[in-house]
């Protein structure tokens, strides 16, 4: 779909080049000519309200959507982590991690064990997925993505189904893994804090277009209490059409949330 056609863009120094990406479902246009670039190793968060088409865009980059139009260049080595861990219930954790991995069986198993150790799941190689907790299962899914040594890692709301405490630990893990392996990352999320915490750059998808493209200028370690964190968070929430509800910020004449009138 993508590699055969001669590129019309200069791909030099890019891990992802998407031009004019358009997707229509029936008479509903979800993506309207998106232009998105990712540099190698860049961590980009794509924010959007539910139904904004952010997952549609990720699926297009993953090569899972053959109804998409436009020009898309992505690395051959790419991995996806979905919102659900999507482990095959009938395969052991290790077999899930190395699923479809080419090369010698022994080599694959060694790489799989290493990836499991990296996400803190060593000792669970022979377990059935049903014995894992939600967070452990999602870490196994991360290991499955990493073992392929992707140049592009696509994360489709991977922490959405996890509890708050597990999510914090997963954020730290993803930061570590990104620092160590340095793939380009596209993180699709509706969690503004998560985006500001993890990403180098944040995109907001509104009405099928990128309405905001901003570099995250918050020094690490990024803390939620940091002024720049809070300022960016507010800007992003406003862009997403969310009124934070603070007394001073409320526009005149607006009805405060939760009040019966």
């Amino acid at each position: 779909m993508t590699a055969v056609i001669e590129p019309t863009v200069d791909l030099d120094g890019l891990a992802v080049a998407a031009r004019g990406v358009t997707r229509t479902f029936g008479d509903r246009t979800v993506l309207r000519g998106l232009d998105v670039d990712l540099r190698p190793g860049e961590f980009v968060a794509l924010l959007g309200r539910s139904g904004s088409g952010k997952s549609t865009f990720l699926r297009a980059l993953a090569g899972l959507d053959d109804g998409v139009e436009g020009e898309i260049h992505v690395p051959v080595a790419r991995s996806v982590v979905f919102q659900d861990p999507r482990l095959l219930p009938w395969a052991s954790v290790l077999d899930n991690v190395v699923l479809g991995l080419g090369g010698a069986r022994g080599e694959a198993a060694t790489a799989g064990r290493a990836a499991l150790a990296e996400v803190g799941l060593d000792g669970h190689e022979r377990d059935w997925p049903k014995t894992l907790s939600g967070g452990e299962a999602q870490r196994a899914a991360l290991a499955r993505a990493l073992v392929r040594e992707p140049a592009l890692l696509l994360l489709d709301e991977p922490f959405g189904a996890l509890d708050a405490l597990t999510r914090i630990r997963m954020h730290a893990l993803v930061q570590q893994l990104h620092a160590r392996h340095a793939p380009a990352v596209l993180l699709v999320t509706h969690d503004v804090d998560e985006a500001v915490l993890l990403a180098d750059r944040v995109l907001v998808l509104t009405d099928g277009r990128i309405s905001l493209d901003e570099v995250v200028d918050v020094p690490s370690p990024r803390l939620r209490g940091d002024d720049r964190f809070i300022a960016l968070r507010s800007r992003l929430l406003a862009e997403l059409g969310v009124d934070e509800g603070a007394e001073g910020n409320r526009p005149a004449g607006a009805t405060p949330a939760g009040t019966l009138t």
Binding site: G63, L64, S79, V80, L88, P89, W90, A91, L99, G258
Partner: protein
């Protein structure tokens, strides 16, 4: 803060809070209900927990033994009826008479040879019917053509009672072993086909998407996703298939047979040997139970990965 005062304060204080709650957040607006409910004493019940909960239901007897009590009681009644003379032996032989007959039939070689003949038929029937059903299910479950050609026809034929095919099969195949085995093969192939093909089609499409993402070949997709995913359905089909195999065996053996348990029973019928008939019935029951137990055992071994096992 207001909520805290409501729950911790004394009744009078709560009333005051509720009455003065004109600032009107949703939290305080519900407090009048909470106050009136809190004034009433709540009826409590102690739940049965731990040992109390279990011992109240059972006296420590294993469930299997408990179930046997009913069976033993039934056999005792039957035996008494036969001994006292309420049950004439040409109507139905008693358990002890049947047991003696069974031992005699085993010693003179009638029972072993009949058993062997019957087992062979069921063996062939399952041995051919299972792979035929499975291959057809894979064909129908994995390709559009297969679904159109195989599934549409088999779903229609499924409603023809297999026993009703007997006259036609006899015309084609005669009255020998072939027709008996063929009937069992057909009877076995259907439940295997139906359950396996449904299982293949109901494999979560998310797993197919996953196999695209990790780059599985078609062969790998079948081996790693389709076959293990369809296994639970296949095993349901297998249990049905074994039950049907015995059923059709009985039918095939009572018509035009010269060997087998059914033939043994049909011959006994001529001489009103009800004890031999009972031996035949018990043999069928035992064979059915054993094969069902075997399939259950296979299920337990192969499906340890299933949640809830």
């Amino acid at each position: 803060m207001t909520d805290l005062a409501v729950t911790t304060g004394r009744t009078g204080r709560r009333r005051t809070t509720a009455a003065s709650g004109t600032t009107g957040t949703p939290g305080t607006s519900t407090s009048p209900h909470a106050v009136s409910a809190a004034d009433e004493p709540v009826a409590l019940t102690r739940l049965a927990t731990g040992r109390t909960a279990r011992s109240s239901r059972r006296l420590g007897i294993p469930r299997g033994v408990e179930r046997l009590v009913g069976v033993v009681l039934f056999i005792a009644l039957w035996e008494t009826a036969a001994q006292v003379g309420w049950l004439r032996s040409d109507i139905l032989a008693g358990p002890s008479t049947a047991l003696t007959a069974g031992v005699d039939l085993w010693k003179d070689g009638t029972l072993p040879s009949s058993l062997w003949a019957s087992l062979q038929r069921v063996g062939w029937g399952l041995g051919l019917g299972i792979p035929i059903g499975t291959v057809l299910a894979l064909f129908a479950g994995l390709s559009r053509i297969g679904d159109d050609v195989v599934d549409a026809n088999l779903q229609m034929l499924r409603f023809v009672p297999i026993i009703a095919l007997q006259p036609l099969l006899v015309v084609w195949l005669g009255v020998g072993e072939t027709v008996k085995v063929t009937m069992i093969v057909i009877g076995v192939a259907f439940p295997i086909y139906v359950n396996t093909s449904v299982a293949i089609k109901s494999i979560d499409p998310k797993y197919r998407e996953l196999s695209d993402v990790v780059g599985l070949s078609r062969g790998q997709l079948i081996r790693r996703v389709v076959l293990p995913g369809a296994l639970p359905g296949f095993l349901v089909g297998l249990r049905l298939a074994t039950a049907i195999a015995w059923l059709l065996l009985v039918f095939a053996e009572t018509i035009n047979a010269t060997s087998g348990i059914g033939f043994m029973m049909a011959r006994a019928q001529v001489f009103f040997q009800t004890d031999v008939i009972v031996v035949g019935l018990v043999t069928y029951a035992v064979l059915g139970l054993l094969s069902d137990g075997l399939v259950r055992f296979i299920e337990r071994r192969l499906l340890t990965w299933q949640p809830g096992r």
